[in-house]
């Protein structure tokens, strides 16, 4: 049975496909995503407060490498099998090498409902995964071309909403510790699943609006949107095992690897690679991969993690 938050997504998709007169105000969507980003950041920060940061360094390096690797893999597939142009291939690849915070939130809710524990500092990896894919994507098209305005780009990426709020939340949680955070936690943690439900309702409406452009871009994108996350999840799960993560942590890392960005990367690509068609990457990321991950993917990735961690494994 699907978690209720996922049913909210389904409701949004259905309403969108039926062209129902349902439109959440843009301000509400912005606020919901602010709440999710801060909640996730705070949660991770509280946990980070309890352990020496440098012990995480190997994991951070490993996860960043995963982001680079997945982007290259996706680029190769899109160029060779999909016959996409360089810009389009690089832009889509950057989406898939990066992460989706919404998918992460659903994974957290799913593991929670199944009482599977995981390393609570995972939000750190969300931050770590945001950036490398973007850099690789740009390099794939521009090389180390002088013309690229790296300063402007770094600003756009590192100071985009997602990273600022995730990192801000991490730092505030880390500096305050669980006791001091508790009173603000009523809003951020207590309402987490409700906020997520509303967010997914809106995501459903948005996803539905992407299906139209999907029809134009055919089967390859559809296949890619399902197979790429599976490949990503496999890489992520193996890396998780190798880094010594718990079953839950492995499943989360697999989910992060499987997820594709629809906030930070699209914004960066519009500026860095404007010649790439933004419709393609959004349709794949929002119209296929996001729905796939939150309905079928996450349970699968947990099973994957459990199988890898099986006693005789």
């Amino acid at each position: 049975m699907l978690d209720p938050v996922v049913l909210f997504f389904v409701l949004g998709v259905v309403a969108g496909l039926l062209r129902a007169e349902l439109r959440l105000p843009a301000a509400a969507y912005e606020m919901l995503s602010v709440l999710l980003l801060l909640a996730i950041g705070l949660k991770g920060g509280i946990e980070l407060a309890t352990r020496p940061l440098h012990t995480l360094l190997p994991q951070i390096v490993g996860v960043a490498a995963l982001g680079v690797g997945l982007t290259l893999l996706a680029y190769a597939v899109l160029r060779l099998a999909g016959r996409f142009g360089r810009a389009d291939a690089a832009s889509i690849a950057a989406h898939y090498g990066s992460v989706s915070v919404g998918t992460y939130a659903v994974a957290v809710a799913y593991l929670g409902a199944h009482t599977v524990a995981f390393e609570e500092y995972m939000p750190l990896f969300v931050v770590v995964l945001e950036v490398p894919a973007i850099v690789v994507g740009i390099l794939l098209v521009r090389g180390l071309h002088r013309g690229t305005r790296w300063g402007e780009l770094a600003h756009e990426v590192l100071l985009g909403k997602s990273i600022v709020l995730l990192l801000g939340g991490l730092l505030i949680g880390w500096a305050s510790g669980p006791a001091a955070i508790a009173p603000v936690g009523t809003l951020f943690f207590g309402l987490f699943k409700g906020v997520l439900a509303l967010f997914l309702l809106e995501m459903g409406l948005i996803a539905a609006s992407q299906f139209g452009s999907l029809r134009q871009h055919g089967l390859f994108l559809l296949a890619f949107g399902v197979l790429m996350p599976l490949a990503g999840a496999a890489c992520g799960a193996v890396l998780g095992l190798w880094l010594g993560l718990s079953v839950g942590g492995t499943a989360v890392l697999a989910t992060l690897a499987a997820s594709s960005s629809y906030i930070a990367v699209p914004a960066a690509m519009r500026i860095a690679l404007p010649e790439a068609n933004p419709t393609l990457s959004l349709a794949a990321s929002l119209g296929i991969t996001f729905p796939f991950n939150i309905t079928i993917g996450i349970p699968l990735y947990l099973a994957m993690a459990q199988w890898l961690h099986r006693p005789g494994g």
């Binding site: 843009a26 912005e30 809106e202 409406l205 948005i206 452009s213 914004a267 519009r270 404007p274």
Partner: protein, 105 residues
């Protein structure tokens, strides 16, 4: 009533261009601008404003004819190929001509 003739340039473009566009306008010498959030449809499809980056902005600049031409030329050069954007210009009458251009009259 003593009016001065100026040009009103209206630009509709995808919202992600906001900061770049406004920076360009200032650099080219506009004395001001007015921005509203918008949605719409054009050659690059529906822009729905469901979330802010998915929407458009509508920017108005009142300036003299020369600057209007310079801005239009710059935007065509820099943004037309790859971004959702339209631009139209018309004559308007203002009270304080000096407010909208370098030269005063």
């Amino acid at each position: 009533m003593q009016y001065h003739r100026r040009r009103l340039l209206t630009i509709v473009a995808e919202a992600s261009l906001e900061s770049a566009l406004l920076r360009d306008l200032e650099r080219l010498g506009a004395t001001g601008y007015t921005v509203t959030d918008a949605r719409g449809k054009g050659q690059r499809g529906v822009r729905s404003a469901a979330w802010s980056a998915a929407g458009n902005i509508r920017v108005e600049v009142v300036c003299d004819a020369e600057l209007a031409d310079a801005i239009a030329a710059h935007l065509r050069e820099r943004y037309y190929e790859h971004y959702a954007m339209i631009l139209f210009a018309s004559d308007v009458d203002v009270l304080r001509g000096g407010k909208f251009s370098a030269r005063s009259d």
